[in-house]
């Protein structure tokens, strides 16, 4: 979605402000939100793409004025409620008044080290060969889905060069809706800064994104100048 999260190329946010010796968390509640989001993700009620979609579905003004873990908290609470795992009253009061729903899995303390050190790979086999090869020129499609996508606005419509084919991965646009993993080939596509940003681009600047196959159209033969 063209929401508050799609920040590439925007102006007006001011300087980057690195913090010396930054702590991992800035308030006790941030730790709890982090842990709760991880643990609830493990239940299998939703997936990582759905969580990203829930975060970016905050109204843009709210997204941009909420701290990082506040965004996580709001999205998590919304997901919990939307899936019927708890009611708004329960979340407001902290008191349980409805029965729990069954969930697929519960993350146990003793399993955390092993499971998280192993990770949760998202590569999946597909039956079809990759459509594009390194060196090919491709155009990012002008998609504007109201739902989740991982093709940022600043590359849409732009021509770049395929640099790598990474295998096939879960497709976030469908997975976020719990509409299936529908894996696709994933590419690295390199764009010249000048093509993205025009004359204002800094010299010698290029940007790569990882783009799923359905985000790309072939450019053929060679574009006219």
């Amino acid at each position: 979605m063209n929401g508050g999260q799609d920040l590439g190329g925007m102006h007006g946010f001011g300087p980057v402000a690195p913090e010396a010796d930054e702590p991992r968390f800035h308030a006790p509640w941030e730790k709890r939100v982090f842990g709760l989001a991880m643990a609830m993700g493990f239940t299998g009620t939703w997936n990582l793409d759905a969580s990203r979609a829930a975060r970016e579905a905050l109204p843009p003004g709210e997204y941009l004025t909420s701290s990082y873990y506040a965004i996580w908290f709001k999205a998590l609470a919304r997901q919990v409620e939307a899936h019927g795992l708890a009611t708004a009253d329960e979340l407001a009061s902290g008191t349980v008044s409805t029965p729990a729903l069954p969930v697929k899995r519960v993350l146990r303390g003793e399993a955390v080290a092993r499971l998280f050190a192993g990770g949760f790979p998202s590569d999946r086999p597909v039956a079809t060969p990759a459509r594009f090869a390194p060196g090919e020129r491709v155009r990012a499609r002008r998609i504007n889905p109201a739902g989740h996508t991982r093709l940022p606005r600043y590359v849409r419509g732009q021509v770049g060069t395929v640099e790598a084919v990474h295998g096939s991965f879960v497709f976030p646009d469908t997975n976020a809706n719990l509409a299936g993993e529908a894996p696709q080939w994933l590419y690295t596509v390199r764009f010249a800064g000048r093509d993205l940003w025009g004359d204002a681009a800094e010299a010698g600047h290029a940007v790569s994104v990882n783009a799923f196959e359905s985000y790309l159209d072939p450019v053929d033969p060679e574009p006219a100048a």
């Binding site: 690195p18 991992r24 800035h26 006790p28 939100v33 982090f34 709760l36 609830m40 519960v106 790979p121």
Partner: protein
């Protein structure tokens, strides 16, 4: 990032009538959520503790620094790392959540690499830990792709004008780590001493490794 924390502690949805407790409205809301999720059996409190402990104390840039130092001293490891970073890191016992599909990009005199996630906060957890606030915040996410040299200048990094900048926007499940160039004057250092030169920012691309002098 004081600005962000103001927002965090004093959020939009703040409640003017919160109780006399010392807890902020966000603390209270998060506690309520946690209570309900635990009581309903969705969340094991021991798992929460383990997750927080893991990512607050165990996983961090010291892991990435080991990878970088090894790559500086061991050409075969470096070749493996560039070809299949996930597998090469596993050799050092490094991997897991947020780093299932690692890619290492190596700086050269001709090209400097910079990693960003414009859409959210994708970051290579197993090698760098959880990302700093600036990495997740709108100024960095908006500007890294359109004016990386200006951003680097705010980190005190000025690259030669003829060194290109390559920005990697982490838009899928691949996670990027920058392999910085080994600083001059480090010929005599062992792997542990080299690792001590490798800062977190050097592996994001917003910094350069320390030199032995600056490290002393």
């Amino acid at each position: 990032m004081a600005h962000d924390h103001d927002h965090a502690d004093h959020d939009h949805d703040h409640d003017h009538s919160h109780p006399a407790s010392e807890l902020s409205p966000m603390e209270l809301r998060v506690r309520a959520l946690e209570s309900v999720l635990v009581e309903k059996g969705y969340v094991d409190p021991a798992a929460l503790d383990a997750l927080i402990e893991t990512y607050e104390t165990k996983v961090g840039p010291h892991n990435g620094a080991r990878v970088v130092a090894r790559a500086w001293v061991d050409p075969a490891f470096r070749a493996h790392l560039m070809a299949d970073a996930t597998a090469a890191m596993r050799e050092l016992g490094i991997g897991g959540r947020g780093g299932e599909h690692m890619v290492v990009v190596a700086n050269t005199p001709e090209e400097h690499n910079l990693v960003v996630c414009t859409l959210c906060s994708c970051y290579p957890w197993p090698v760098l830990g959880l990302p700093p606030v600036w990495y997740k915040s709108p100024p960095y996410r908006s500007r890294a792709v359109i004016e990386p040299r200006a951003v680097l200048a705010e980190f005190g990094v000025t690259l030669p004008a003829d060194q290109r900048i390559r920005v990697w926007d982490s838009t899928a499940e691949l996670r990027y780590m920058v392999l910085p160039m080994r600083p001059a004057g480090t010929e005599g250092l062992d792997e542990a001493a080299l690792a001590a030169l490798v800062t977190r920012d050097a592996m994001i691309g917003t910094g350069l490794p320390r030199t032995p002098e600056r490290n002393a």
